[in-house]
Subunit: 277 residues, 4 copies
Amino acid sequence: MSNNSTYKTWKERLHSIIYEADTPAGKLFDIILLILIVLSIVCVMIESVKGLPTNIYVLLYYAEWIITIFFTLEYITRIISIKKSSSYIFSFYGLIDLLSTLPLYLSFFITGTSALLAVRALRLLRVFRILKISRYIGESNKLTKAIKDSRAKILVFLFAVLVLCIIMGTVMYIIEGENSGFKSIPISVYWCIVTLTTVGYGDIAPVTPLGQFIAAIIMIMGYGIIAVPTGIVSAEYAHHEDKKIHLNTQACSHCNETMHPDDAKFCHKCGEDLRNE
Amino acid sequence: MSNNSTYKTWKERLHSIIYEADTPAGKLFDIILLILIVLSIVCVMIESVKGLPTNIYVLLYYAEWIITIFFTLEYITRIISIKKSSSYIFSFYGLIDLLSTLPLYLSFFITGTSALLAVRALRLLRVFRILKISRYIGESNKLTKAIKDSRAKILVFLFAVLVLCIIMGTVMYIIEGENSGFKSIPISVYWCIVTLTTVGYGDIAPVTPLGQFIAAIIMIMGYGIIAVPTGIVSAEYAHHEDKKIHLNTQACSHCNETMHPDDAKFCHKCGEDLRNE
Amino acid sequence: MSNNSTYKTWKERLHSIIYEADTPAGKLFDIILLILIVLSIVCVMIESVKGLPTNIYVLLYYAEWIITIFFTLEYITRIISIKKSSSYIFSFYGLIDLLSTLPLYLSFFITGTSALLAVRALRLLRVFRILKISRYIGESNKLTKAIKDSRAKILVFLFAVLVLCIIMGTVMYIIEGENSGFKSIPISVYWCIVTLTTVGYGDIAPVTPLGQFIAAIIMIMGYGIIAVPTGIVSAEYAHHEDKKIHLNTQACSHCNETMHPDDAKFCHKCGEDLRNE
Amino acid sequence: MSNNSTYKTWKERLHSIIYEADTPAGKLFDIILLILIVLSIVCVMIESVKGLPTNIYVLLYYAEWIITIFFTLEYITRIISIKKSSSYIFSFYGLIDLLSTLPLYLSFFITGTSALLAVRALRLLRVFRILKISRYIGESNKLTKAIKDSRAKILVFLFAVLVLCIIMGTVMYIIEGENSGFKSIPISVYWCIVTLTTVGYGDIAPVTPLGQFIAAIIMIMGYGIIAVPTGIVSAEYAHHEDKKIHLNTQACSHCNETMHPDDAKFCHKCGEDLRNE
């Protein structure tokens, strides 16, 4: 074979390591990546804590730079190893990967951006790819489907809840006046959401008898209303049959499409030959 | 045709713009209306916030008057464009539309009524009419039906909860005495509702060991009891079949009835010809 | 017929008025009774509020005595009008009726007992008898059955929750020490129940990082655990078919058994003739 | 028969008393054991309360020692009476039994370990063995199975919730700054979990308008998200058929396997003859 063919093979091998998790090398890469993601999140978190010894902050500073440089290299490799790089760059993970490296570089110019590094938490969702070899991703797919199917219903429900909160919030603002915490309508609506969702901070609480009476009604409504989204998801979830789950993580080296059947020979999206990987 | 016929056509055209959302003009009208409703609610909300620059309050004052005048004109047009005006005036939306314009006019005579403008939030429910062209309203209908069918059961449930709260509230009043927050039986019952619904403000909390023990029992009861309405709605919702959904928003120009099949030629309620619209 | 027969008829007529709600007189009696029950509860509640004008307390004092005397007369009439009086006296409602009159008489001798009058709230459950003519009682029966069937499962669940709370409460007591609110193991267990049931008063809250970490775990557990009783009741409730509901309120004048079919001629429990009422 | 055989019978009789609950002696032993477990937990709890009279602490000290010695004897007897002692020692209950006696002995050497005695609460789970003769354990088995089957789904769900909390916690940390309670990212994540699970202590609460707006979104998300685990368990639970329940508590005297059918003659795990017990 020509040199070009060897080069292609090298690129494709890299692709299967970075994007797939079926080979030992691919799995190892993903596990190292996940450990680094967790480490970087822990770093960002600890850094925000005040009053620790100074050398810890210095240590965290170096750790973060090392991780960020690794992430940058990984990002570049991902772009190189794929044939149609735009299908990675503008994908969900492509954007997340970019956003998880940029803030530290930007912190040279703008202060405070390093806290945005917590967007790296989203990278943790990659964990599902490694677990794909287990039944977890199947469950997740089924779960996602049930949630997606009941999305419209839940939106209608949340919209009705919001209208209710605006009205009840205004009523409470009029009743409680301004001597208790109900200083303005937006604050009252905020209180109403806090109460209806049964969170109940207690930073704002009604003090007049009539206000407490209406608050009690809102609570009981919230207590009864919670049955609605639960009922929807229950019914929706029960309807879903257990479907065949994709256990391989094979990704097309051209367009990165991942949902290939186990015996697929060509990518069903772009026609790329999957066998020579 | 006679002049009378032309006049009728003009009135009917107006009717189809204001009451229906199938034509581009009708849809545009509804979207503008919704934006104005949202704007007016935002105005009322911001106005209640203290400590903003004075010119903002002046701006809001003018904005509110402009919106109210538009709503008043819309209300009058709705009455004119329908043949049997009483079927609009005394309908749910007719009353809401009236209540959402009156408070500002009343504020000339009585102070404090302008806060009642928040009733405009109810007008937001019109959003479902525009979304009728999507599947949202169908979901809403199905949801409404499930809630309506389980209404009797949920009322029985809420009544039992109320009796429980009155009894446990009195028990806590006797146990905790008056040195903690349990100043009277109504306050204790209010506390009991706050606890049973798992809201838990913390403005009133038991301090005696026996009081805390009974509070713990009430919490666990509340935690278990919440299963009941959820179970009811789940079971009810699962029973409902997906029914045929009305995707058109055609409203009879005589009696305003809206649930016409797509191929309806006459209003099934008053016999009005629907085709010449 | 003999005088004895007339006397029997009078007694039986009284029985059908007091115990049943099918005749206009019986329904009227039940509605008056319910209004008086609600009134007496409102009286007890208002009486516990401090700082009202003195003449209100005087008014409440008289109102309570009038209602109590009426309840006493009703209690005696109930005993007289039934043939086998023990079947009423030792029934659930018989005991409630006694307990709702005694406290006021006892308040002559022991102070503080009048607050126990709130036990009258339990009498409110009689409301279901009047509503029997509607479909409410059917729902309640179905609901009661679903709850009864899932009782064993929910008890097992609550027992496991309690064991979990004792263990986690002790763990938090060891971690948080005594400088925050976790003063003793019982208090810590109480806090754990408050947290797991998502009530969250906030009167006791962890302050150490480790304590907050474990608290977060307890919360997420509580958030997930609540799915269990809900799932049980949902599944149980869905299994129940809508059964034939007893719409009459006919009660045997001998033993007070109420679940007679509409065409019953003799009491299925004691053989008493039901027709001559 | 030889002396060895008599000794074996004595050992086996002991085994059936300690490990099983079908004979009157076995049931009595289990009930005494449970009472002692409850007593010992109550002792540990009361001991942690400050400010009681000194003689109560003395009393508790002796009570705890008596119970611990009894538990120690019981532990030794359990090891002796079973043929293959390792199958008890390294079982769940074997470890719990050891851990519930050790702390008091260790408190001679290390202070503060006696609070660990609360691990005895786990021994309470033995209560299910006595109740085995009722239908409780069957329910528990069915419940356990439903939870076990939905474990993977609930883990996926909890993982997604955690990622959400990390991201929203960081966003709130950036918005709220450090003048309100949001002192560091870990604290903000803790607050986010408190809010999303609808616990809502109120020790940390947003004070800026934007912070309150995002908090409201988190609450509504938490209110909707709770539908997911509930829906999963509901659907899972509904699928389970009522299976045949083991009503006997017969345990193999060799390997302690307990799930024998009522008419079992040999242990299905080790082949031990079950009849000569």
